[in-house]
């Protein structure tokens, strides 16, 4: 199973990015192979409008089953994510990626 985190960096110890649409990076963790891959989303700064759906579209390419983020996606992004059937967990905005993963495993994050 693949889990995607919205992050401010590319390491397990990096801070989570509480924003969805304008997140700086994705960190994609593949539980099956215990491997990590990252995507640099910082070009989204140049988008004045529609950052949410655009980021959601990119995220969909990874075929992940779980998204862990901070504040949660807005309406437009949520409409895109809904089509992917991804499970969305919020409230990890103040954690590191590692802490967010542990909180998820412990069932401490809120489902949207």
């Amino acid at each position: 199973m693949k889990i995607i985190f919205t992050t401010k960096g590319t390491e397990w110890d990096s801070a989570m990015d509480p924003r969805f649409g304008r997140t700086e990076f994705f960190l994609i963790y593949d539980e099956g192979t215990d491997s990590v891959e990252t995507y640099d989303n910082r070009a989204i700064e140049n988008e004045a409008h529609g950052a949410g759906p655009k980021t959601a579209q990119k995220l969909a390419e990874y075929g992940a089953e779980v998204l862990i983020t901070g504040n949660g996606p807005g309406g437009n992004a949520a409409a895109v994510l809904q089509r992917t059937g991804i499970e969305i967990l919020v409230g990890a905005g103040d954690m590191t990626v590692k802490e967010a993963h542990e909180a998820y495993k412990a069932g401490k994050l809120k489902k949207v």
């Binding site: 004045a48 409008h49 759906p53 437009n76 895109v80 089509r83 992917t84």
Partner: protein, 287 residues
């Protein structure tokens, strides 16, 4: 002639000045006041006119016709606003993000994105003697003020001649809605308050209006509070301050009752008179 009343900062007196100036000037000739702050129009609170026209306003947005679509992705490539996205075998349209530019629709090789009407707001026109009020109101949840501002100005252009004094009550800030509300103006009056916050936003407004290469002047509201930063700045930048409206509790009380100020407050009357004289002179120069 078109005069836009704008400000960087919100709550500095755009509506106060627009409504009082329009009502005052209508004693001497025909005036139309257009409330272009379509996200929160409030000029109507101060003008008791008879409703003479009302219409729904629409913007055009694409609607996906999946029967003809070959999923080439051209639509999402040409959209500057991420309002059209391809998700697998579906084209998703986000009406709130759409600016109605027609690019996706016109450039679709199979004609699968025909443009359809979507209601975005309502326009009303009122009349009180020599004063007309045109007011548009955006539907709650709609994000694009610009198309409605454009249609409101077009309505004014269609229904009133350039001989009529046209006063535009602009939205606050310096973003697209303000550009749209001021781009046709012959003169922009920037109203500010003499505080560091007022000055900060005045500078942004001045930069914006200079980019548009518009003639502009400044009116200081709530004169007497704050500091002399605005005066210093205007002197340094060679910006003309044409009037000052004093800070007075009676003004706030009268305004909060929804009443015009100049009939009962001499200092406002005097400031409005000065501004009206300036505009009269400007109009003669324009000719």
């Amino acid at each position: 002639m078109k005069i836009a009343i704008a400000s960087g900062k919100g709550g500095t007196g755009k509506t106060t000045l627009s409504t009082n100036l329009a009502a005052f000037m209508s004693q001497f000739g025909q005036v139309v006041l257009a409330d272009l702050d379509v996200e929160e129009p409030n000029s109507g609170l101060f003008i008791n006119g008879e409703l003479i026209h009302q219409e729904d306003t629409y913007k055009m947005i694409p609607e996906w016709d999946k029967s003809r679509c070959e999923l080439c992705g051209n639509c999402q490539a040409v959209c500057n606003f991420n309002a059209v996205l391809q998700m697998g075998k579906t084209i998703m349209v986000f009406p709130q993000l759409c600016h109605g530019c027609y690019a996706c629709s016109e450039l679709c090789p199979t004609g699968s994105l025909p443009m359809k009407q979507k209601k975005m707001g309502e326009l009303r026109s009122f009349r009180a003697d020599n004063l007309s009020l045109v007011e548009s109101r955006l539907i709650v949840g709609e994000e694009q003020a610009v198309p409605l501002i454009r249609q409101t100005i077009d309505f004014v252009d269609t229904n009133f001649s350039e001989e009529v004094t046209q006063i535009f009550d602009a939205p606050p800030g310096t973003s697209c809605p303000v550009i749209e509300a001021t781009r046709d103006a012959d003169l922009v009056v920037l109203i500010t308050e003499p505080t560091p916050f007022g000055l900060h936003d005045l500078k942004l407004a001045v930069e914006t209006i200079r980019q548009l290469e518009k003639k502009f002047v400044v009116v200081v509201n709530r004169h007497g509070i704050g500091d002399d930063g605005v005066d210093h700045y205007c002197r340094e930048e060679n910006i003309r301050v044409i009037a000052r409206i004093p800070n007075d509790r009676k003004i706030a009380e009268t305004y909060s009752r929804g009443e015009l100020l100049y009939p009962t407050i001499p200092a406002v009357r005097s400031a409005v008179e000065t501004i009206a004289d300036y505009i009269g002179e400007f109009k003669r120069e324009l000719k």
